[in-house]
């Protein structure tokens, strides 16, 4: 399974997905797989420790909600602090990505890499 280069990759991606709106764990797993073209298929069991960690840092808040047919789900919502941290991490990632691009692509991180 490919891993994000940043150690905070998965938590940050979870924050980014939650920035689009509240979601429960299953929803996040599905959206992550969909957005990455199934390139990053995080085992569902690992999403929850991540979410609980984010909750512990007060970056997200969670509450039980009744879904369709009375099914209970724990829905996660991004907090203001989470939004702030997401913005910081996104900026960090952007800097990191540009630096790597300069090395790998030989330019200034602009343009398209061609292989072969």
């Amino acid at each position: 399974m490919p891993r994000p280069a940043s150690p905070d990759g998965y938590p940050t991606m979870c924050l980014a997905l939650l920035a689009e709106g509240p979601a429960h764990g299953y929803d996040l797993v599905a959206r992550l797989a969909e957005r990455t073209g199934a390139a990053m298929r995080l085992p569902a069991g690992l999403v929850y420790p991540i979410l609980h960690g984010l909750e512990g840092e007060a970056l997200v808040k969670a509450e039980w909600a009744e879904g369709e047919q009375g099914r209970r789900r724990r829905v996660y919502t991004l907090t203001e602090r989470g939004r702030h941290v997401l913005a910081e991490r996104t900026a960090q990632w952007e800097r990191h990505r540009r630096a790597v691009d300069r090395v790998l692509l030989g330019g200034w991180g602009v343009g398209v890499a061609t292989h072969g």
Binding site: Y26, A44, G45, I50, H52, R72
Partner: protein
């Protein structure tokens, strides 16, 4: 679990969930996570069923998608140091205090024999309390092992998929027919550590219904449950708690 889950499926999920949440401190927190993970499993299974996957396969595939249980356990084990910091601080303070007390004691010992003995007795008492606490924790671990034994026996009785990791090599308590619910029970000086609060288990056929089997710190309440008549014979109505 209100849906028509096959019993063996529920049991398989339960074993996984118990294991996955074993690193979480606090029964209430672990129980809440198990509920959340179970809701996820239900969601996956429901989608697979909607896609036309057979029921048994859907349950197994839902579990597969959760990933390796050891990875989940490790992920739930909080790596953040700040939670250990208070413990380390208390330990450091106790060590410093111990060194100071030892120095005082040496002085007192040199000057007043009786007071020195009293200080020694206090130190011994503290060691005794510490040892007692350690033994109590050990007893709690045994309680957990007891619960796992019961669960393993339940698996054997229902011919559910084996869970070798839960099989300690010891005999187990007899079960009554029907579904058993194992509940932790606080007893006197035996504080329970994080233990599976509720373990669902299936009875061994032939034992009396409604029996209550008590272990060292565990109580097994047996009650009939509605299951498939094909795999489980009908059981009588509950006869009590």
């Amino acid at each position: 679990m209100a849906e028509q889950d096959p019993w063996s499926q529920a049991l398989g999920w339960q074993a996984y969930l118990e294991e996955a949440t074993s690193a979480i401190r606090g029964n209430a927190a672990a129980r809440a996570v198990r509920e959340e993970l179970r809701a996820h499993l239900e969601e996956v299974r429901r989608h697979l069923l909607a896609d036309g996957v057979p029921a048994e396969e859907a349950a197994a595939r839902a579990l597969e998608q959760m990933g390796e249980v050891s990875a989940v356990v490790a992920a739930f084990a909080d790596p953040r140091g700040w939670r250990r910091a208070p413990g380390a601080a208390v330990g450091g303070a106790l060590l410093a205090l111990g060194r100071r007390v030892a120095r005082w004691w040496r002085r007192i010992w040199q000057r007043r024999y009786g007071v020195g003995l009293a200080a020694g007795a206090v130190a011994l008492l503290m060691v005794g309390v510490g040892t007692g606490t350690a033994l109590a924790w050990r007893q709690a671990s045994r309680a957990e092992a007891f619960a796992r034994l019961a669960l393993a026996e339940a698996h054997a009785a229902t011919a559910a998929p084996p869970v070798h990791q839960y099989l300690p090599p010891r005999p187990v308590v007899p079960f009554a027919p029907g579904m058993c619910i194992l509940q932790s029970e606080r007893t006197g000086a035996t504080p329970l550590r994080r233990v599976p609060q509720v373990v669902q288990a299936t009875a061994r056929p032939g034992a009396p219904a409604g029996a209550v089997v008590r272990g060292p710190v565990w109580q097994v309440n047996c009650m009939p449950t509605v299951r498939s008549p094909a795999t489980h014979p009908a059981v009588p109505a509950p006869t009590g708690k």
